[in-house]
Symmetry: C2
Subunit: 228 residues, 2 copies
Amino acid sequence: MPKSKAKSRSPRGLDRTDLLNAAFELFASEGEAGFSVRKLGAALDIDPMTVLHHFGSKDELLRQIADRSLTTLELPPSTGDWRQDLRIVARAYRDLAHRYPRLFHLHFRFHATGPADHASSEVVYRALLQTGLPAEAAAGLGLAFYAFVLGFLLAETEGLLLPLSEEEEGELRALDEASFPATHTLVRAFKTLDPDAAFEAAIGAFVDGIESKCCSARPRRPDAKLRV
Amino acid sequence: MPKSKAKSRSPRGLDRTDLLNAAFELFASEGEAGFSVRKLGAALDIDPMTVLHHFGSKDELLRQIADRSLTTLELPPSTGDWRQDLRIVARAYRDLAHRYPRLFHLHFRFHATGPADHASSEVVYRALLQTGLPAEAAAGLGLAFYAFVLGFLLAETEGLLLPLSEEEEGELRALDEASFPATHTLVRAFKTLDPDAAFEAAIGAFVDGIESKCCSARPRRPDAKLRV
DNA sequence: ACGATACGGTCTACACCGTAGAAGTGTCAA
DNA sequence: TTGACACTTCTACGGTGTAGACCGTATCGT
């Protein structure tokens, strides 16, 4: 029996899990700029080298922080409708991004390969296979789906999607109206932009686009009055 | 006449433009990890502080590097067809990402506001207004379009879209086949994934989705005659 | 019971980073 | 000449990640 004691033998009361939890907390609240091995050590009253002794390098620690955040992904059960399932996965990732916005960008640096990730991928791939598309198309669209969703969320967490500030509004309005008519037309809409609606519309467009690509025989949703 | 002399008076032969060019080059070739003010100084045989004197801070230098890369965006003329125009803008950004993959992520850190960006946005917004969608929807979809495209390209430049490696393939195949049937089905497709096709399919799906959202009255165009 | 071994933890030291502040250095206007 | 000013450099400070040596203790094979 290799592991009878749960607490193991740590001279200090700290497990490696505790270290990871503290690191996660510090990174999530302070952001990458406010995170360093030394600061983590100070917060735990621990020598900084102790943390490196457990994780090997700061990079590996960050990788595990990213992994840990993925384990909190809350994936509702499949509905059986692939359109809904794609939306559900997208919303689950968005929820994750909103819970830990300061560390979401880590998911790009360390392409996650944890079990949580595989579970959500399976939902996505199953959904795309249900469309009847050939495997090559399903695979490409699956990865594209992730890239799109994660990309959108990164943009959102990095502040690219915020309603226009006064300064930005001024900059846009200063543009030559003859050369930038569409931009001028939309300035008002940008000021009152609703990120939730934008996200749902974008995901909806993507899903509808996939639908139109594959199985036009299927009946469209009731709100669609028009047909191709 | 404040600028009669092109070269200005620099004791060394270096203009601020030269500094920016060199910084751009160094960053583009070495990546962020290999870029530092000190290294830039060494490469130019210049004191590092000279760089900061011109740019104020490293952060501002990076911002200008990002801006500079955006000025190389090659935007073909509008076709008049909003679907094609959206695709054109997406491809222009992808071309940019492929030319300078090591610095593409900077576009997320510094939401670009340069003139090059306004020019491409205008194309996107004009395209979306041409769909006949209301301004709110057009604005949201416009930002979503950027988030999606940039996100996809970031994923691509960061390596999330590469065909499966042997190791990753093994990891996927090791998954329980009963629990991950779709993943298993697609492993082969992932090994031979074509990023170009995935990108075109994804953008196509998004555009088609927008089309289905608005004006199905327009006749779909067979891609028989293309113009560019 | 007793070294051997391994491991958790610490300490010191090194190379590198961004940059504030002071101190040259040159060129131009008065 | 005398400033004034932009440019460049030097020095120094506080921060970073981490390699390498060191120490105490717990476990194990004998």
